[in-house]
Subunit: 295 residues, 2 copies
């Protein structure tokens, strides 16, 4: 199967799985469940579930397990977007080409949507059998909780807020992004692998190396797109980083250097999983997709 078909197939099964794994809109409290579905379904590139499936294929994981793990990570991501768009954070009105969750449902509901999506993500990892050894499943829960929390994504958001209006060095930017975006992307990849047969430590280390570089790569490209693309193409407000005085790779090192950085990160990511050969094919292709995406 070529990459485009594989990607479309994973995106489609992710959408179906999210639909099945979110509480039904007709279940009370209905408005909260409708808003959770609004914030999660019908949009997004599903980069994290794609990475989860790609890493899981490498480890021979059951795709049904990868759907669960990928959806858990995607729910954490969707919660972070709902909170990030709130007036007290980025105050954004457009996301995935639609009004943001608080514009559509009100601020209090959007706050609760994020809170409940986070719980739902941990619920998924706790109630579905994802590993033959339950100890391994506890390790997966630990990994996701760490990636989401104060030493992961939420911590990165805090560094972002505190860095707004300041000139950050490249090292400081990397630290911020390793937390804000990188931690969850890394979790998507490692959780995918953990759904399969245990990999040798050396292979997990290479996968982890790949995951860290791809996380950074994703953010560099995001910064480039925010500086270059239009709101219509992105489906979210373009140019808002500069408007809000946010520190980005483009503001820190310039557009040309940011592009060079993306190219070398992609090369390093490729090198990290070279020895996997054909088993690493989807991960290679995803790294290529991430660097060449235009939205």
């Amino acid at each position: 199967m070529n990459f485009q078909s594989w990607m479309a197939a994973v995106q489609e099964r992710t959408e179906r799985a999210l639909d099945a794994l979110l509480p039904p809109a007709a279940t009370a409290p209905q408005r909260l469940h409708q808003a959770m579905r609004y914030a999660t379904l019908g949009g997004g590139k599903r980069v994290r579930p794609l990475l989860c499936h790609a890493a899981g294929e490498l480890a021979g994981a059951d795709p049904a397990r990868l759907d669960i793990a990928g959806c858990a990570v995607e729910m954490i991501h969707a919660y972070s977007l709902a909170h990030d768009d709130l007036p007290c954070m980025d105050n954004d009105v457009l996301r995935r080409g639609k009004p943001t969750c608080h514009v559509e449902y009100g601020e209090a509901a959007a706050l609760l949507v994020g809170d409940a999506l986070q719980s739902q993500a941990f619920l998924l990892l706790a109630e579905h059998a994802l590993a033959d050894d339950p100890r391994r499943q506890l390790e997966m829960l630990r990994l996701l909780a760490q990636a989401a929390g104060s030493r992961g994504m939420a911590g990165g958001q805090m560094i972002d807020i505190e860095g707004t209006g300041q000139q950050l060095s490249r090292a400081e930017l990397e630290r911020m992004h390793a937390h804000k975006t990188g931690a969850l992307i890394r979790a998507a990849i490692l959780l995918g692998a953990q759904c399969g047969a245990p990999l040798p430590d050396a292979e997990m280390a290479r996968l982890d190396d790949f995951a860290r570089r791809v996380g950074l790569l994703f953010q560099v490209v995001d910064d480039i797109l925010d500086a270059e693309a239009s709101t219509v193409t992105l489906g979210k407000t373009a140019g808002k980083d500069a408007a809000q005085g946010k520190a980005t790779y483009v503001s820190a090192i310039g557009l040309a250097a940011a592009r060079e950085m993306a190219d070398s990160l992609r090369g390093e990511a490729r090198a990290a999983i070279e020895t996997f050969g054909e088993r690493g094919r989807r991960l290679h292709e995803l790294a290529h997709f991430i660097v060449t995406r235009t939205f």
Copy 2:
């Protein structure tokens, strides 16, 4: 040991455990970790950890395990208070006799404090050994995620928001509170029991019955106190339910009937665990404490 000494001892060890289980204030991102500690430490009756310890003692659980489980539930509670006090929710400025988290640290930080505390709670249950059988520990994670999420606490908050300004029936109020306060109180009790030796199904059912009644009892007393007590005694803004048009037991059935309801719930809770005899002593005492508390 008499009840007062037991309660003081559990509160003190809970404070120490929270201090040890929260990320250190000196660890980056420092300001987020300081704010998480501000929102969690140095206050509160610690009702949920007390219930967790009392139920755990009934099942012969290791107190060190109960500290972890009790702190996980308390972190979920502390996160809900940080979010509940935000301007888009109850917009409150006083909590436990101190300025609320967003007054002290700003709205964006208070939002992230709640988000990160929720992750931290699940991290605790995933990374510490709380049951000899890891399957049982996964069940504990499932229980907490369910209690916190859209069909638990976060769902109850949503019902609360939607019911504001409306006259709710007693049945509707019970449904709201079973979610908003009851689910987490129930989780505290069941998690405490699960830290110990497995109880027979019939005993777990009785404990669950007790838990549901105590959860409701706690809320009825809360409503009575909000209507009666002063801000100084409560350490949080008194009379705000009425001021905000919130549906309470006092507004729905009147003060005298709410007091009668509290008395009968306490009797029912007592009856539910009667057969435990001396093993249920602390739970009895806690139900008594909850109904006679003045703050």
